[in-house]
Symmetry: none
Subunit: 412 residues, 2 copies
């Protein structure tokens, strides 16, 4: 049931102290059988611990955005954090900036930058600049920072150019009176010229921002014009931090994000979670971090990436294996005695499709206060008959809040 | 998926005459197993008649307020009557006044009063005045009415003090220019002084109302200062009648409420139902009243309280028995040939938790027009797989309207 999106005012009014909550996200968890009559990745995996959680708790299928819609990672995570991504739209540039730990201010416009290759006439020949390495990206960003850092100082605007990885970087311009609804420069195909930044808001801030960004793009392309591969660039997802209501304020929980990839740290930061840094990139390392941070937070978001990556690769067996790896670390989470443990995905990434998909996402909510349903295994088919039904992902946190004893009664 | 709350305008436009509808509410119906692997109260009860209704009709789990939120009785009943309680907030004082049959006007502020015990310095020593009897409550209210009835006449405001039961009474002040957002005086703990009434609306009405109520409280406490137990009092839930859209206007049904407890009569009155008075307090007495009133109304709300009371007491066996008592009266309802019969709870009250809870509520809708689902018994687990799915309680009345042939087609 996805009757409602979460009313943050109501949650802010009703929250109270209670047990700890863990949200364990296997990215792209939902899958498909490779052949008709077969099993999905999750159904194929041997998951005795997750099956036990499904049997003791409740299950369901979550709709990340709207029925039929294939989610991107940013919106899908916002939704899991209970922010309706249709209502709260976040620019990719903002997510990318947050993802590398760049602290945005309300005066900033952030863009995701892509180094590209162009021919002598400026037509794009490779939108990823031959997938240059991350070291090369660092060098190019330093070059751009040196060449353009003071470019807009005459208009009171600062420029920051920061590497992400491979061909990707972040551009932030900072100053008073920036804003608008800004278009991307990427023509999304080779053999075309980049587009200018334009503003569709019609506001003075938008007009000014587009003009400044086009000035920067021109100067930046000149600065790298003689590079062998990355002799051009594009800007995408130009946006300001939307200033979302803060998760800790809404739910009264100090919230930790335990994730490896910048993107997920970025979304978590955006809603006011604190990033728990840790060594290593395997699920067991995330649980090491969880154990260390356990006493310092009320809510823990744990992100597992490789289920999605293997789905994107079309590697059914590897995705199955990664799910089994996660199953094996479940007892360590239970040993911490959370009041509610959610295991879900942000969206589906069936290996068969080699892509994110619109399919709803298998979800379980385990808690000592859960009322058992008829589900005894964790899988897409089983979840369809579970006690949570088909629900909107934005209701997951409130459901976990109830199970963790963290919501006061409404009315007498 | 129940993605919408009821649109009253649409209902008012589409309703037409049809068959009669019965809404049978077992308060706090939903439960939990006492031990892992066990059955809930409803699953334990022998309910051949309800099982037959579940088999012939459709079942589901209803969300009273929002996922994860534990409902109070007032909001939960408003929701069953199809009024979203997050949108339509009703003060407890209003419910209490309506519950004792006190007719509120738009000029009234109603408060729930609690007699209390205080020490010589005014610190509360018992918030319920030693749970004085109802006769004592009647005597004290008469005393207060005599002492304070004309207290505020100098400002054109009338005072009404009416007993409810035990330590509980209702205060109504009536006059022009009353209103605001008024706080309660109950410190919610012993060993503390009562609080003054304050207004958080910042309006002139609010300021005036707070001042008048504080005058009344002071005079009232003086009037009972020498009482052995009830020598103090507190006011809670101060509010005006919100003026809800009327149920008979929305649905085109003359609606009857058959309930014993004031609270439930109060909510029913608030939405424009008529109270059917009757002798006795058992489910069979309610059915006697149903039979007598059958020809005079289109819609019947029947309230059974003890399922909730036994849940609050932690008495699993008594709750099971009360469900079986209700099961036994089902044939008498069916003999009246309703077009739709809903059996549900307003919320869950698991004996295991001795409290209302956030868990969704098992619900069945029987009708000669129902399309059978796979459910063959009435229980929490069974309902999770039923044809209504997981739905918001506000959609129950429209669903019953459809089954009773009471809604016209929309469009050609």
């Amino acid at each position: 049931m996805s009757s409602v999106f979460t009313e943050f005012n109501l949650m802010a009014e009703l929250h109270q102290p209670g047990d700890k909550i863990v949200l364990l996200v296997m990215d792209g968890l939902g899958g498909l059988p490779m052949q008709a009559g077969g099993l999905t990745e999750l159904e194929t995996a041997s998951t005795p611990n997750l099956d036990r959680l499904a049997a003791e708790g409740i299950t369901g299928l979550s709709i990340p955005i709207r029925p039929g819609i294939e989610p991107g990672s940013g919106p899908a995570h916002l939704s899991l954090f209970s922010y309706d991504p249709v209502r709260y739209e976040i620019g990719r540039g903002v997510l990318e900036a947050l993802g590398i730990g760049f602290t945005l201010t309300p005066n900033d416009i952030a863009a995701r930058g892509n180094f590209a290759s162009a021919d002598a006439d400026g037509f794009i020949t490779d939108r990823r600049a031959g997938r240059i390495g991350s070291d090369e990206c660092v060098r190019l960003c330093a070059k751009l920072q040196a060449a353009t850092g003071d470019l807009l100082a005459d208009e009171g605007v600062q420029v920051f150019v920061q590497p992400v990885k491979e061909h990707r970087f972040v551009l932030v311009i900072r100053g008073k009176g920036l804003g608008g609804a800004l278009t991307e420069t990427d023509p999304l195909a080779t053999g075309k010229h980049p587009l200018p930044v334009t503003d569709s808001s019609g506001s003075p801030e938008g007009e000014r921002s587009a003009r400044l960004l086009n000035r920067w793009v021109e100067a930046a392309r000149q600065a790298i014009a003689n590079e062998p591969k990355a002799n051009s660039l594009n800007l995408r997802g130009l946006a300001k931090d939307p200033g979302l209501p803060r998760f800790p304020d809404i739910y009264g929980m100090r919230a930790a994000a335990i994730a490896v990839y910048p993107m997920y740290k970025g979304v978590a930061s955006l809603v006011g979670m604190e990033i728990v840094e840790f060594e290593g990139d395997r699920p067991s390392h995330a649980i090491d971090a969880l154990e260390r941070a356990w006493n310092d937070f009320d809510f823990f978001f744990i992100h597992v990436k490789k289920t999605d990556s293997y789905g994107e690769d079309g590697n059914f067996a590897a995705k199955v294996h990664e799910i089994e790896v996660v199953d094996a670390i479940i007892p360590r989470i239970l040993a911490l005695q959370p009041g509610a443990l959610i295991v879900t995905g942000d969206h589906s990434t069936p290996a068969k499709m080699r892509s994110h998909s619109f399919h709803p996402v298998p979800t379980l909510l385990w808690s000592p206060r859960a009322r058992p349903d008829t589900t005894t295994t964790f899988g897409e088919r089983a979840c369809a008959g579970g006690g949570m039904g088909i629900f909107h992902a934005t209701t997951l946190i409130p459901q976990a809040m109830g199970h963790a004893g963290r919501l006061k009664r409404i009315g007498a």
